[in-house]
């Protein structure tokens, strides 16, 4: 499972980075969204992988058996903030497009 998760993170990062490097705003937003997934997943697995033991306390269970709750708490807020940031840059790109007439990152169309 570790290899599966690690490779998934890698694929997400690669696709995210590629999109972040595009010339138009919308792909960049998509790239950042992919990148955010990757970062959240990455942060999450810093507590290592535990199957079938969510950190909700139950009678008669070893403390050591639970999944690490701390990265989960951090990632939970990170997901919500990630959304807020995605929304923010999306609106920023809308504003740029509407007031500049182009959605190119540099604010002007490059003539070939």
């Amino acid at each position: 499972m570790e290899a599966l998760v690690a490779s998934a993170i890698g694929v997400l990062v690669a696709c995210g980075v590629y999109l972040i490097l595009r010339a138009r705003t919308f792909p960049v937003v998509l790239g950042l969204a992919l990148f955010a997934y990757a970062v959240n997943l990455y942060l999450f697995v810093m507590g290592n992988i535990t199957l079938g033991a969510p950190p909700v306390l139950q009678e008669g269970m070893e403390i050591a058996a639970y999944a690490d709750p701390l990265p989960q708490a951090l990632v939970l807020t990170a997901i919500v903030i990630g959304f807020a940031m995605t929304a923010f840059i999306l609106v920023l790109s809308i504003c740029a497009y509407v007031s500049l007439g182009t959605d190119h990152l540099d604010g002007r169309e490059h003539t070939q």
Binding site: M1, E2, L4, V5, A6, S7, I9, G10, L12, V13, A14, C15, V17, L21, R22, A23, R24, F26, P27, L30, A33, Y37, A38, F44, G47, N48, I49, L51, G52, P54, P55, V56, L57, I63, Y66, D68, P69, L70, A73, L74, V75, L76, I79, V80, I81, F83, A84, T86, A87, L90, V91, L92, S93, I94, C95, Y97, V98, S99, D103, D106
Partner: protein
């Protein structure tokens, strides 16, 4: 305490002239003179003890971890300098009162002057070398302010900038050198440093440290090749030139040589560098001075030359030479300050300081003439003046110098040449200004008011008195100062006027008569100099250097910053990959010892879907709607992954956020272009991006893999053990962490959410669609009847669920974040199903206010604990009240409610404002809209 007050009084005095400025010139001047004289009085009170050889050291810890103490030291050397600074300072204040015109802001002038005075006193009285460096910088800055005092004159601004650059550079070098010095001996206190000379000179870093310290000393004392800032600083008002640029600040450099003499001097490196630079400066500057037609320019180069002389003396490294160096510091301060003030008088009364224009002033300014004559005689080293004594002793030390091996004549010859040139320009100063034909000056010359001549008179009187009776007047002070420089007993100092017929007398005679002869031949020399003197000045070199640096920087900047954001991001990512990748390579890529968890079939399928959809997003991004759909799948798989990996709270959060995100992207596509234009085939840039992306992905995957295969040491055990009892009172550890253990973090995060919402609201206000008018088209479809009819009863149901999720959050997956997201989704569904107009009419809630109220509630619930005297955000508080007795308040529920409200408020602000973008567009096809049928209207 007295040393502290001596430094602090002028610094407090900075404010007085600014306050008294409004009461007129005289009160302003007095307000500057008062602290100066008071500090001078305090200094005198310490006089007898210092003369008796006592050293006062006081110290308060300041930044102990850095070894920086507020420590002051009054020994003979510090006393001598403080005396010069305060004594000449008082005279300069009086002189400036008459010198400055009514147009000059006098309060500002005296404020700067007092600032400089305090800084300079700090330099000479510091016990801690870091403190010394601090005051050193302060003198550079206050000097900058004073040179640029007439800031409307471009030359003043240029001169000030040049002085600051050069002395600031030296100051940095000095600071580095002093830190090295402190590390060598293990203390920044002078008492320790001065006593560790042997250790310092034997240290392997001695030479670099010495070079850095000397850089500071030479730049400040205008030694070759850093000399050129001083003549350019002559744009300052003359009182400043007299005070800073001849008597005190430029002496800070030689003061440093004297101060560090016990610790640094005595090595051959010290001898060759310091003596060599000093001799070069001595002769070169004296030669240039001879050709300067500006009175102040001549004096400036003469100052550089005399500073060179003092530097040479400290460079010799012998006891006797160091004593002469201290002696010449005093003498030079007296006669040069008086000559500068005289030059100021001539300038003030004649309206020019060009020696070619001036002449015959003896007739009009008899008193000024006498003062100038006496001052120049001291500068030239004529017998019976103080300058003669120290110059004679300098010649003697140069003659006796044992260190020159096969060239014993070299140093005495250069010294004599310097003396000869000094004589020549002194004669020129007096003769060309006061004798000869009367020149056509802008003003009719006459003697200045008494107040302007008095300070000059005092200084000249000192020159003559010391020249006639050196032993009784200056003997004790010189002995005490020399004891401090030598860090030991200087022995008996012979200050008699006549030492018998020796080499020094011969050198003096050569200098005096040769100088006079040189002067008489000056007309031919000027012609010659104009022919052979290269058109190369320090100022030009400096300006070209500055220009070259600026050009180079501009080139670098324009190369790196070509205006392409894509390139910046690529550089940023490239360097991030490097920064993360290098340690990865260095520490090796070895997986840890942990056994892998099992892989099941469903996980593999999910993994496949994730990979395919991620790649599809990247590949199909030009068809934007398709890309939004596939990225939605990615988000859903991620939330499933959280389920599988024991993160139910995360799965719920991710799921609700995913729905909202996709909605958001779709709304944005309403305005933005629906597809990305092709950029012309497979380009080099695309290849670069693919490589960069692949490397970044591979690296991140590797890092995650390496961490996951290693055993985990986490602080989470504490959270798990204390979540229910005694701290948190809940079984869902993630939620307890959010609202209790790390509540402060959560508070910050909901604030970010609020700010993002408000930012989006602000950005969308008043957008002008004129550039993109034609490109946005509105969908003509009706709102789907099925969705509309289901969404309304669903609203109540979903809100009910969200309340349930909210309350069970402390013990089961759920809580404020998730409940807030679920409620938002329910509300947004109404917008989606029935249209913005319909929903807005019915939802009359100010969501901005709601979000703000949520943050406020969270903060307030954190403040409850203050009532019980506990730290902020202590969530479970036990109160005991009279009558009622003890009771518990657990404010986590209110905190979580705050989170809930903030999430709803922000989400709705973001989405409804984006949704309203469509409304703005509707105004363009108002008529069409009216004909459109609404299924819910009869």
């Amino acid at each position: 305490m007295t040393p502290l007050f001596i430094v602090l009084l002028p610094l407090i005095g900075v404010l007085l002239p600014l306050l008294f400025d409004r009461f007129g010139r005289l009160p302003c001047t007095l307000s500057a003179a008062f602290p100066t004289l008071m500090a001078l009085g305090m200094l005198f009170s310490m006089g007898p003890a210092v003369m008796a050889g006592e050293v006062f050291v006081i110290s308060w810890p300041w930044v102990e971890s850095l070894g920086l103490n507020l420590a002051f030291r009054v020994d003979g050397l510090g006393f001598l300098f403080a005396l010069l600074i305060l004594g000449i300072g008082a005279l300069v204040i009086m002189y400036a009162h008459y010198y400055l015109t009514n147009d000059d802001p006098i309060g500002r002038f005296f404020a700067y002057l007092m600032l400089f005075m305090g800084a300079m006193l700090g330099v000479v009285l510091s016990e801690n070398v870091l403190l010394l460096a601090f005051f050193w910088e302060m003198t550079s800055l206050s000097s900058f302010l004073l040179i640029a005092y007439w800031s409307h004159v471009p030359a003043a601004r240029q001169g000030a900038r040049m002085a600051l650059t050069i002395t600031g550079l030296g100051g940095l070098g000095l600071f580095a050198g002093l830190v090295m010095l402190g590390n060598m001996v293990g203390s920044y206190d002078l008492s320790v440093i001065l006593a560790s000379g042997e250790l310092i000179r034997a240290h392997e870093l001695y030479v670099p440290m010495l070079l850095l310290v000397l850089l500071g000393a030479f730049t400040k004392s205008a030694q070759f090749p850093f000399h050129f800032w001083l003549p350019n600083a002559m744009t300052a008002p003359t009182p400043v030139s007299a005070y800073l640029h001849s008597a005190t600040m430029v002496k800070a450099g030689v003061f440093l040589l004297a101060r560090m003499h016990p610790a640094l001097a005595g090595s051959s490196e010290w001898f060759f560098i310091v003596t060599g630079v000093g001799l070069l400066t001595l002769v070169f500057a004296a030669y240039v001075a001879l050709f300067k037609h500006d009175l102040k320019g001549l004096l400036a180069y003469s100052t550089i030359s005399h500073l060179g002389l003092i530097t040479v003396l400290f460079g010799f490294g012998t006891k006797a030479a160091a004593i002469v160096g201290v002696f010449h510091i005093m003498n030079h301060a007296a006669f040069k300050a008086s000559l500068f003030m005289t030059a100021g008088i001539v300038d003030h009364e004649c309206g020019t300081r060009d020696i070619r224009v001036l002449g015959g002033l003896k007739k009009y300014m008899p008193i000024t003439f006498v003062l100038a004559l006496l001052g120049s005689a001291a500068m030239a080293g004529i017998p019976l003046f103080n300058g003669f004594l120290s110059k004679e002793m300098f010649f003697y030390e140069a003659w006796k110098l044992p260190l020159m091996g096969d060239y014993p004549w070299l140093v005495p010859a250069i010294a004599t040449l310097g003396g000869l040139l000094s004589m020549a320009y002194s004669v020129r100063l007096v003769y060309d200004v006061f004798f000869g034909e009367v020149g056509e000056t802008p003003k009719k010359p006459h003697d200045p008011p008494f107040g302007m001549m008095f300070p000059v008179g005092v200084l000249v009187a000192i020159c003559v008195a010391v020249g006639l009776f050196p032993e009784p007047i200056i003997g004790p002070l010189l002995t005490a100062a020399s004891a401090a420089v030598l860090f030991g007993d200087p022995g008996a100092i012979d200050l008699s006027l006549w030492h018998g017929f020796n080499a020094a007398v011969v050198m003096s005679l050569i200098a005096i008569f040769g100088g006079t002869l040189f002067f008489t031949q000056r007309a031919r020399l000027y012609v010659l100099a104009d022919k052979i003197w290269p058109d190369l000045t320090g100022k030009k070199v400096f300006e070209q250097l500055v220009e070259a640096v600026a050009t180079a920087m501009r080139t670098i900047t324009s190369t790196l910053e070509n205006g392409s954001l894509q390139r910046y991001i690529a550089l940023l990512l490239g360097f991030s990959v490097l920064a993360a990748g290098l340690p990865l390579v260095r520490f090796g890529i070895e997986p840890g010892p942990m056994a892998m968890t099992e892989i099941d079939f469903v996980s593999v399928v999910m993994w496949l879907i994730l990979v395919v959809c991620s790649l599809a997003t990247a590949i199909l991004h030009q068809r934007r709607l398709v890309a939004v759909i596939v990225i939605g799948v990615v988000g859903l798989v991620i939330s499933l992954a959280f389920v599988q990996l024991s993160g139910p709270d995360l799965a719920l959060t991710q799921l609700s956020v995913e729905i909202v995100t996709i909605l958001l992207l779709l709304l944005a596509l309403f305005v933005l272009p629906k597809s990305t234009p092709h950029e012309g085939g497979f380009t080099l840039r695309q290849a670069r991006d693919i490589v960069l992306a692949a490397v970044a992905g591979l690296g991140t995957a590797l890092m995650a893999w390496l961490v996951m295969t290693r055993p985990l040491e986490s602080i989470s055990r504490f959270h798990l053990e204390n979540a229910n009892y005694p701290v948190g009172g809940g079984n869902n550890v993630v939620n307890v962490t959010l609202v209790d253990f790390r509540g402060f973090d959560t508070m910050g995060e909901i604030s970010v959410l609020l700010v993002a919402g408000l930012g989006i609201f602000a950005m969308l206000q008043g957008l002008d669609f004129k550039y993109v008018e034609g490109t946005i088209s509105r969908a003509r479809d009706r709102y789907p009847v099925m969705l509309t009819s289901f969404s309304r009863p669903l609203l109540a149901l979903i809100i009910l669920i969200s309340i349930y999720v909210f309350f069970r959050g402390h013990n089961m997956p759920g809580g404020g974040f998730i409940a807030g997201l679920i409620t938002s989704v329910a509300l947004i569904l109404q917008y989606l199903a029935s249209g913005i107009d319909w929903a807005s009419e019915r939802m009359r809630i100010n969501f901005k206010l709601l979000a703000a109220a949520g943050v406020m509630l969270a903060v307030l619930s954190g403040m409850v604990s203050w009532l019980a005297g506990l730290p902020f955000m202590t969530m479970a508080v036990q109160f005991s009240l009279p009558v009622i007795g003890e009771f518990n308040v657990v404010s986590t529920l209110f905190f979580d409610l705050g989170v809930y409200l903030t999430v709803i408020g922000s989400m709705m602000v973001i989405l409804s404002n984006l949704g309203h973008l469509g409304q703005i567009e509707e105004e363009y096809d108002e008529n069409e809209r009216l004909t459109e049928a609404d299924p819910w209207k009869p």
